[in-house]
Symmetry: C2
Subunit: 243 residues, 2 copies
DNA sequence: CGAATAGTGTCTATCAGACACTATTCG
DNA sequence: CGAATAGTGTCTGATAGACACTATTCG
């Protein structure tokens, strides 16, 4: 039945409505020991005045692919060019957008908070960081963006359990204690220092820079992310092997 | 910049092209100790004659949401109404479809092979099961469907390592040995019987039916999937806890 | 020296993995 | 009884988790 003449003519075909195609980005950063997402206030209908995820229509002329579209939205808001970016999934139905049947492709990005300097939108849109409380933001959001944020937070938490993803939320040089703190902030629970360090170092995604961070105490070694180790799973026994 | 008047008018707006919106389904089943996917032969251009994933345009009038669209495609091909269905992700760019910029929302489904009786398509399309070799199918597929199949296989394998997903590939009543065999077929490696059984039973997603499967040997206990335990993660220590 | 945080060592319970062993049926 | 597969028991090595201990700096 695939695109049979009578049943599925392409968009723009005779008398057939096509879904709207959008891209949205859930941009995470840790600030003041709290997980935050970046939201923009909508200037126009629908949902004028409400806060929403940075995003919008895919531009067939400018965007080579979905990820490029997501990257463009991200750059417009933050000026950041190549953060960690991962596809979360897509959300589409008849009712989420009053303008019509719409589907949005959602990505999530992890920013090292230090790198963030919000860009004034071309049309002077407001952009602001919102703290995550539980799995959501306190504000009611435009469209189904509240649900999307919750899904992104759930995904980030799940992955934090068994991967080193949170390194991307930390500036280029950092101490193990700082990295641990970010993990704790995301998971909303304390972690054991000794176990954390063993695990992080065993996963072989960090390298010491040789420098240290001074303080009113013993100085801490500084680390950076090893090249080529942007996505690391913690080593753990997965499954009964035989053969 | 979201849907600013001059930069992102909705589809159908004045002189602006909108992406095509499709849904495709990767339908898995295990037959003859091999993982298979269901493909259909395209009757029309583009890629007429090539094998492709069941799928096609989202029908704004009939499909309430993306998952419903995927379910519709699945039912048209297999007659199966409620198998395990999960979103894989979306794939969209300017070149994957010669008809224009297109984005497809991909789902994957797990069928218990016994339940499968292929439906003749309305326009007598052919449908056939193809064995997975490595991460792909031997045939060259239409569009970027080869890549999509590979991504689906990778996801299924990854999840088989730490969840009980493969129960959905096994008929309603089954022995532990049969379930183990399916895991082995997906992972393409032998598993240790003792460890597999301990793990499966400890995860508490199976219940004995009380019946047994006879054979030229000691009869095996039959199990079924416990209600409400459709998605089960194997218990394993994830992370250093403290507090 | 004391405060403060960095970093290490030790013990224990759990579990994957390997593998051998026992159990129960059919012919 | 022997073949064949179901199902269990035992040992070992790895590691999460708890927690105490040592190390190094500043003021």
């Amino acid at each position: 039945m695939r695109d049979g003449v009578g049943s599925g003519a392409p968009a723009g075909g005779p008398g057939r409505e096509a879904p709207l195609t959008l891209v949205d980005v859930v941009i995470f950063a840790v600030r003041d020991e709290r997980l935050h997402v970046l939201l923009v206030r909508r200037a126009e209908a629908p949902f004028a005045g409400r806060w929403a995820l940075p995003g919008g229509f895919v531009d067939v002329a400018r965007d080579a692919d979905l990820e490029a579209a997501a990257r463009r939205k991200l750059e417009e808001k933050t000026g950041v060019h190549s953060p960690y970016l991962e596809q979360l999934g897509s959300f589409g139905d008849a009712r989420r957008d009053p303008r019509g049947w719409s589907a949005t492709h959602v990505y999530f990005a992890l920013l090292a908070s230090a790198a963030v300097a919000l860009q004034a939108g071309a049309n002077a849109e407001e952009a602001r960081w919102f703290a995550i409380a539980g799995e959501r933001v306190r504000e009611p959001l435009a469209f189904d963006h509240g649900r999307i944020v919750a899904a992104a937070v759930a995904r980030l938490r799940a992955k934090t359990e068994y991967t080193a993803l949170p390194v991307h939320l930390v500036p280029g040089e950092f101490t193990l204690a700082e990295l641990q703190r970010v993990h704790e902030v995301i998971l909303e629970r304390k972690l054991d220092k000794s176990a954390f360090r063993t695990r992080a170092l065993a996963a072989d995604f960090l390298e010491a820079t040789g420098r240290t961070r001074a303080g009113p105490n013993r100085p801490a070694r500084l680390y950076r992310l090893k090249r080529g180790r942007e996505v690391v799973f913690f080593p753990r026994t997965f499954y009964p092997k035989a053969d």
